[in-house]
Structures are given as structure tokens and as C-alpha cells.
Amino acid sequence: MPDVNREERGLQLKEKAFKNTLVIFALLSVVVLLAIFITLLFSSMPSLKALGISFFYNKDWDPVADNFGALPFLLGTLITSFLALIISTPFSIAIALFLGEYYKKGIMAEIFKNMIDLLAGIPSVIYGFWGLFVLVPLVRSLEMKLGVAPYGVGIFTASLVLSIMILPYSVSLSRQVISMMPGHLKEAAYSLGATRLEVITKITIPYTRSGLFAGLLLALGRALGETMAVTMLIGNSHILPTGIFSAGNTMASVIANEFSEATGTVYTSALIEMGLFLFVVVTVINIIGKQVIKRFTA
């Protein structure tokens, strides 16, 4: 009898311990996220206090003179991300249609799906490296033809590579929603004599447009936070960009370049504040994107 009791108690303890461990792990994920936010907030305090809101419209970034204006980087981030999105969107929808509508199954589907996935697998630093040696000379000759200063690096080059990098992210979601298009709606249109193009433009796209929009949002989120390739191709200038061929900087690339050498509390804190900004914006975009998806699949 006593043996059974001991075994019983041992069992109960182990069961409880296991269940509690799982709960603790899950709690940890929430705690870590909150801790990340709090750390960013806390570490940005010196800069928030010293510079306030002017941080975002001050166009001068001069650490030596203790002047921290993030406007050039804010602009750089926004311009490169939106430009990349504009360049990649027609292609991402085209590929989404290719994989979700025209070639849903079979060899073609497998080949191209894997190739697009591979694009996502290439590390950012390699994109940057390739961009430096292949794209930059090309852009330089383009700039010479256009009569613009032939840096080669700059916002345009960075946006170009960025558009390739974010392509797989919008494709994957868009492809899914397009392929989940209910067949009976398409068939109704076909039976009325519509061509495939007409079914796509008049039925499929309108029906899936919120899913497509979510795909673009997620791609935008990736673009905003992308660091390495952009750092290597954007020219690293602190001056306000004047055109798409000028050199510039994004918030992420400035952090990457200057964080390890930043001295002084306000300098470091200003960089972290930009990190906080990126964190908040990307998180909000991702949450909105996920909500849109949820509503679409409901």
C-alpha cells in the first residue's frame, strides 16, 4: 500500500511540474516581448527627454555637435520601403496569379514556387554584396546616361534590391488567398462567357483584395526593418535626400553603422529611439496585416 501512495504522489508531482513548466514557458514568451518593448522605451528615455518630438523633423544629424535629427533617416526609410513596394507589387501579384491561378499544380508550379522561396532564403548580406558588385556599376552607368551624379549607390539601388528581397513575402500570402478562391464563383463567371482575364480582374482580385492588401502590408513591414543590404547599398549619407538617385540612409542602416561606436548617452539613446520607432511601426503593421487575414479567412 505505501508503495502505491509514494508512486501516486510522485506521479502527481511530475504531472504538476510538467504542466506548470509549459505554462511558464508560454508566459515567458509574453514576458520577453513586454521586456523588449520596455527596454526600448527605457533606453530611449534620455533621447526622448532631451530632444522630444523635434527628433523627427530635425534634418541635421551631427553627433559631434550633439545635434540629432532623424528626418533624413525617416525619409530614407519611408522612400526606400515604399519605392520597393511599388516596384515589387505588380510582380508579386503576377507571380501570385501564376502560382495561385494558372499553374496551381504540376512541374511549373513546383519549380517556380521553389525558386521564389529560394529568393527568401538568400541572406541579406549576400544581396548587399551582390548589389555592390553587380547592380551598383549598372546604376552608375544609368546615372551617367541620365546626367545625375554617378554614385551607383543610393536610394534607388537600395530600393531595387529591397524590392527583390520583399517579393517572396507578399507572394506567399497573395498566392494563398488567390488559390483559396472558391471555385464556384469562378465557374459562375465562366458559365456566363467570361474569359480567364475577366474572371481574374472582375471576380478573383476584388474578392481577394483584402488578402492581397495584407500581403503588401507584411512586405512593407519587412522592408522597413531590412538592414544589411540597404546599409551596403544606400550610400550612407546624413544629408536629406534630394532625389531617388541621391545617397541616403535608413533608420536601420544608421543604427547598424553607428551603434557600436556611439558615445554619450544621448547619442546611443537616439539610435535606440529609432529602433523603438521601427519596432512600433513594424509591429503595428504586422498586427493590422494579421487582423486583415483573420477577417478574410473567417
Binding site: A26, L119, I164, T283, N286
Partner: protein
């Protein structure tokens, strides 16, 4: 009268036929456009892979793998410290990320409706989207500063944080697909819950979980930003986890942006190695998924 009517009818029929022809033409053009755009987008991939292969293959030799980078000006040298560094950091990250990732995944699949589940899933989703440079900042504040310096350990923590969401997701998805009858069979034999999960459920879902782990490794192995101010880089060979350490992406970044041709060569070689590793990992994950999958 009749002739007029017939004329009118054939006019409209003619117009309709012309219209249909135009619509059909547009249809074909569109499809061609779609195919063209898709092929166009795969070109960068091919260019990049081809270019890296061509540039990198010339740098690959035995010395490349076994020697340390030489100082500026001297030819030769290798990336042995970066290879060792990458492996070390990854091993440590796996040790940290896998237990937590699988554990959280188990919780989410076992208690999908609890409030903690909702917030946990949300947190993991948010974590997945955080820019890698921000992760670097966080780990700098949490680990590098208290430790007083850069280290392989801090780099591993950063990468572990980045691996976590995909391990959690794939574990949860895999376990959710397992039928309830599996759990019941085990519980009815008097197997306690914790053993049922660890000895029946998880082993049955192993292929999916393992696939998730391999894919998450392939994603973080090329990450540079989170290592910039954590592992930091090291021109010498080091296996000390409490000191700065080199890694493949770091060395690519540093050498690619340097003005020395020799170093560019090394960076190409390193890029080739990195791409090959990522490709191999992806292939392995597909094999694991197919061969080990348990069918119900």
C-alpha cells in the same frame, strides 16, 4: 424589311465576334504577361547564384577552410574562424531555442483556447516580425552591457530569439494535426499526461518539429544585423563563448565593404559556402518532411 433586319443582325453579330476576338486576345496577352513577369523575377535569383558561384569557386581551396584571415596586403588566408564561429553560435542558439520553442508549441497546441494561448501566440507573432537590428540592440542592453563586452554567447541569445517563433509555429501546427485518438490510446493505458506528451505525441510529430528546427536554422545562419553588436566579430580563431567571435555573415559584411581585393575574394568564397549550406539545409528539411512523416 426582312433584308434590313438580317443586315442589322449580322452587323451586331459581327461586332460581337470582333469584340470576343479582342477579349480573347487580351486574355492571351495577359497570360503571357504573367508568365513573363514571373520568369523575370526568377532571373535575379539565377544571376545571384551564378555570380556567387563563379566568384566564390576560385576562392575555395583547402587553405580557405583551414587558415585564418591574413592581415591586409598579404594574399591567401581563409575563413576558418568564421566557420567555427558560425557553428558554435548556432549550436548554442539551438540549445537555447529548441526546448523553449517546442515547449511553447506544445502548450499552444494543448491549450489552444486559453487566454495565455492567445497572448502567447500574439507575442510570438510580434517577435517574428521584429527587425533583426532591433534584436541586436535588445541583446546588447540585456547581455553585452552586463557582461562588459561582446561575446559569442550574446550572439547566440540574439539568434535564439530569432529562431524561437518559427520553432513554436511548426511545433504547434504539427501537434495540432495529430488525432486526438493518439493521446487517448496512451492515456487509456495508464500513461501519465506528461509521458504521453513526451513519449508518444512529440515523437509522432517529430518530422514536423524537426523540419521547423532545420528551417529556422537555415534562416538565422545568414543573419548579420543581430551579430553586429553582440558577437561582434573576431579576426582570430576563438572557441571561447564569452569572447567576441567571428561568423560567416559578419566576415562577408566586413570584407565586402572593405577596399581590398583579397578580402573581397574571401567574402565571395564565404558567400558561396553560406549559400550552399542554406541550400543543403532546405533540402534536408524537405527530405525529413517527406520520409519521416507519420501518416494517419
Amino acid at each position: 424589311m426582312k433584308q434590313q433586319q438580317i443586315n442589322k443582325e449580322s452587323e451586331t453579330t459581327g461586332a460581337m465576334l470582333r469584340h470576343i476576338r479582342i477579349r480573347n486576345r487580351k486574355n492571351y496577352l495577359f497570360k503571357a504577361l504573367i508568365i513573363g513577369a514571373t520568369v523575370m523575377c526568377t532571373l535575379p535569383l539565377l544571376f545571384i547564384l551564378f555570380y556567387i558561384f563563379r566568384q566564390g569557386i576560385t576562392a575555395i581551396n583547402w587553405q580557405f577552410f583551414t587558415s585564418l584571415p591574413k592581415p591586409v596586403g598579404e594574399t591567401g588566408g581563409g575563413i576558418s574562424n568564421a566557420i567555427v564561429g558560425s557553428i558554435l553560435i548556432l549550436l548554442l542558439s539551438c540549445v537555447m531555442a529548441i526546448p523553449f520553442g517546442v515547449g511553447i508549441g506544445i502548450y499552444l497546441s494543448e491549450s489552444p483556447k486559453s487566454r495565455l494561448s492567445y497572448y502567447g501566440r500574439l507575442s510570438v507573432d510580434v517577435l517574428q516580425g521584429i527587425p533583426s537590428i532591433v534584436i541586436g540592440i535588445i541583446i546588447y542592453q540585456w547581455v553585452v552591457r552586463p557582461m562588459g563586452g561582446f561575446s559569442a554567447f550574446s550572439g547566440s541569445v540574439a539568434l535564439a530569439l530569432m529562431m524561437l517563433p518559427s520553432i513554436v509555429k511548426s511545433t504547434e501546427e504539427t501537434l495540432k494535426l495529430l488525432p486526438e485518438s493518439l493521446k487517448e490510446a496512451s492515456l487509456a493505458l495508464g500513461v501519465p499526461y506528461y509521458k504521453t506528451i513526451m513519449k508518444v505525441i512529440v515523437p509522432t510529430g517529430l518530422s514536423g518539429i524537426l523540419t521547423g528546427v532545420i528551417l529556422s536554422i537555415s534562416r538565422v545562419i545568414g543573419e548579420t544585423a543581430p551579430l553586429l553588436f553582440t558577437a561582434f566579430g573576431n579576426p582570430f580563431m576563438s572557441t571561447d563563448i564569452f569572447k567576441p567571435i567571428s561568423s560567416l555573415p559578419l566576415i562577408i559584411f566586413n570584407y565586402a565593404t572593405s577596399p581590398y581585393h583579397d578580402w573581397h575574394q574571401l567574402a565571395w568564397g564565404a558567400s558561396l559556402i553560406l549559400i550552399v549550406i542554406i541550400l543543403i539545409l532546405n533540402i534536408i528539411s524537405k527530405i525529413v518532411q517527406r520520409k519521416w512523416k507519420v501518416q494517419f
